[in-house]
Symmetry: C2
Subunit: 197 residues, 2 copies
């Protein structure tokens, strides 16, 4: 166990996170990760014992961070509209920084132990679904299955970012213009949800 703490362990994790979740290099080798971090490949084994354990550590750290921030949003005492607004901001920020994070989760579920999946708590989500239901009964938002409401929200936020390379090709737009497009979406999504705006 590290006592000196030269920051190398965290550097390796952060670098792996960047390669995997930000740049989408889903099968980055240990050599590529070591090179990107500027350390010897053996350092990866020293700190994490094996590639799989490094990946698991990175994944757990990232997932825990995101789901914690989302849970905070969902459990906050804000009025519903502000709560959604905040949730969108938090989630969108994460997606822009790490667009491949969820893709990675999905495609590596088989590889990673399923125990990691089980860490995902469904408590806060279920609570939030009930709130959504309440707002529907109040008439704030359209009446649909709250699960659809949540899936719609995440879909509208995530998918265009995941598919950015494809869409830029398809619509023939530059990276700059595409970013502008993405930044329009928060407002648009709020408008779609709260129709009376």
């Amino acid at each position: 166990m590290p006592l000196k703490n030269t920051g190398t362990e965290q550097l390796i994790k952060d670098t792996a996170k960047r390669l995997l979740f930000a740049e989408g290099k889903l099968h980055a080798t240990t050599q590529e990760i070591a090179d990107a971090a500027g350390v010897n490949r053996t350092a990866l084994h020293y700190y994490f014992r094996s590639r799989d354990l490094l990946i698991a550590a990175v994944f757990q750290e990232a997932m825990q961070g995101l789901s914690q921030r989302l849970d905070e949003c969902m459990e906050s005492e804000k009025p519903f509209r502000e709560k959604i607004d905040h949730l969108i901001t938090v989630f969108l920020k994460d997606m822009i920084a790490f667009p491949y994070q969820e893709t990675f989760l999905i495609t590596e579920i088989n590889t990673l132990g399923k125990e990691l999946m089980n860490n995902i708590q469904s408590g806060p989500v279920n609570n939030f679904l009930k709130q959504v239901q309440d707002e529907m009964e109040k008439g704030t938002i359209e009446k649909i299955n709250p699960i659809h409401f949540l899936m719609n929200l995440f879909s509208l936020l995530s998918y265009p970012l995941i598919m950015a390379p494809l869409y830029r090709q398809l619509f023939q737009i530059s990276g700059k213009d595409f970013n502008a497009l993405i930044n329009e979406r928060k407002k648009m999504i709020m408008h779609m949800i709260f129709k009376e705006d």
Copy 2:
């Protein structure tokens, strides 16, 4: 070039397509593909020369098929509402059969030659975007940037299927129940788009 045509070449492609795009095994080895197809691994090299060429062939075939079907939808002479209805049906069917197809495209863009990306035609899409614009001016659908309209549509269709394993865990629902949920979506999406329904 094959003259006898024992069906092995197509069998290998279909098997690879299933593993990669349906089961999401994005780094299936040549051995795994060969085993799943019930042929010797050397047969893969006989027909495709290398793993990369096999993958490229599978990818090109799949992408060409999908974009052809979508182009047909977009260029058809149907009234707008029916056209969207049909587009949803076609796309959803493909997504249910091969939920990892687009994910694969995105994560392997770097690996695959970018020439494959350039094959994607933007003509039919641009044409369709103009039709969407027309319908907005007619008042059939809400006025937004047509690109957002299209991204929204594909997002709502694709994302829940890509994330199925995560959502099943999060909402604690069985595969059967989740399928029922997915089948509700077509109607719901039509309702979201054509609000007066």
